[in-house]
Amino acid sequence: MVEARREFILNAVIVLALFAVPLWALMAGEPFIISLATRVAILALAAVGLNIALGLGGMVSFGHALYFGIGGYCAGILAHHAFSGTPVAFGLSGTNQMLVIWAVAMALSGLVAAVVGALSLRTSGIFFIMITLAFAQMGFFFTLSWPAYGGEDGLPIFVRNQFPGVNTMRPWELFLLAFGVLLVALVVFAMLRASRFGAALMAIRQNPDRAAAVGISPFGVKLTAFVISGMLTGLAGAMMADLSRFTSPAMMAWTMSGELIVIIILGGVGRLCAPVLGAAILVGFETLFGGWTEHWQLWLGLVLLGVVLFARGGVIGLIAGREGHG
């Protein structure tokens, strides 16, 4: 129980820090730092999605960039048509309303995750990793050769999409929006983990034969988790496109899938705030060392190596100890 309380305090510190740093930046007049914090929040959101599949369900998806990219292209394409006043397809018009874009992004990434999951969850281990990677690569090469929406040049979003009551062009307000969505996602994750569904999912990760022997079919539970996971990562993709006002095939590249996995491993697989801490470390390294040397990923790699070798529970595991399941 000591561990649980320590993790609770640590989580509070992590979340408050993510709020406090941009707040300080706002007062100090450093909009760049606010944007960095927004990037952390959105990457964390994408990783919360992956953490459901990977952390709770033990499904090592090496293709979550697919959903991230689908979300990004939803935002880009809908905004593109809203801007040009042309219909998307079948007479449907584009939109610059984030709420609509998010709904479309989540629905579409959920749908694709259902198809990918239904086909790949019959395998496990290295085969599952490779199949999820293959699907993401299909998406990557599809967008690369999609001239209608910029092909390899990507698709710019000229005017950031709108959210009721928020001026999305102001960095602080955009940050609050991303931070709010991240908090909701963290609550969803925590509730999911504590629920009957979470109990079944984590049991299947540890011992699928036992779960089946008490009457819980592993496939259905894993597929459901995979779809929810893809939806959250898709939502993050839509928000990331709006933050950078740009969407491109790079969002679907395998390196993006790898980054999401790295974020979770750094933070601690399956831990509630691992995505936030991991994303902060990643963006921190990128910013601190990226300006100084092109080889910042080398240093990140060393940190990752250290975590994998000496702190299997990630940084959160290192500080708060092992996780208990009462």
């Binding site: 999911l192 629920s195 540890q206 034969d209 008490v214 009457g215 079919s217 996780e323």
Partner: protein
Amino acid sequence: MDSAVLELEGLCKAFGALKATDDVSLTLQPGEIHALIGPNGAGKTTLMAQISGAQAPDAGVIRFRGQDVTGLSVAQRARLGLGRSFQISSLIPEYSARRNVMLALQARQGHSYRFLWPVRHDRSLTGPARAILDRVGLGPRASVPAGVLAHGERRLLEIAIALALEPACFLLDEPMAGMGTEGVGRLVAFLRDLKQEAPILLVEHDMDAVFALADRVSVLVYGRIIATGTVGEIRANPEVRRAYLGDEEPAA
């Protein structure tokens, strides 16, 4: 014989040239303990795997409460009331004993797609889990993760999980394996009570326990059932003694 809870008819399963299960038919009647014995490699584990649904037979039919379940998955059969325990303890290692039992209870209730209410405040799970753990004598160890329980305690937790399923029959695969004399004695008394709730198909190596418990015994040798009968009949059967028990009278 149509009152049988579990009925195997002409079950066959081969791995290449090896006939692991060779035309096996047996029934499990209400209120009985039917023990399945046989030397190592006789095909007991393969037979249990086919009954539980982990392996598909090449031929034959498995009927459970009158329904043909031959084509159903492990989980589907479990939901119909086929409760099994594993030969090698198969638990959720990071979950406490209590959470292991609660998982079985939630599966029994059929509600694993609930996303909001936290399980640890779910009285329909925590209450019965406590009662079941007390019943098998694991009450004081309820909060200990299954992965760090002692061997004998894990065997008991296997039983507790099977109990939580309130099955129509129990498939117990060597429940006594690796238990001390005292533990075996307690478990024998427990199983004698348990058969009042649901019949038990018992695979067991401990002959003392089998002869003390079983209402009927089937002897499996090289995938075939060479004899089925009461303990007395099996002990007196010359073919069984030759093939399995050895010529000496086994210790009673």
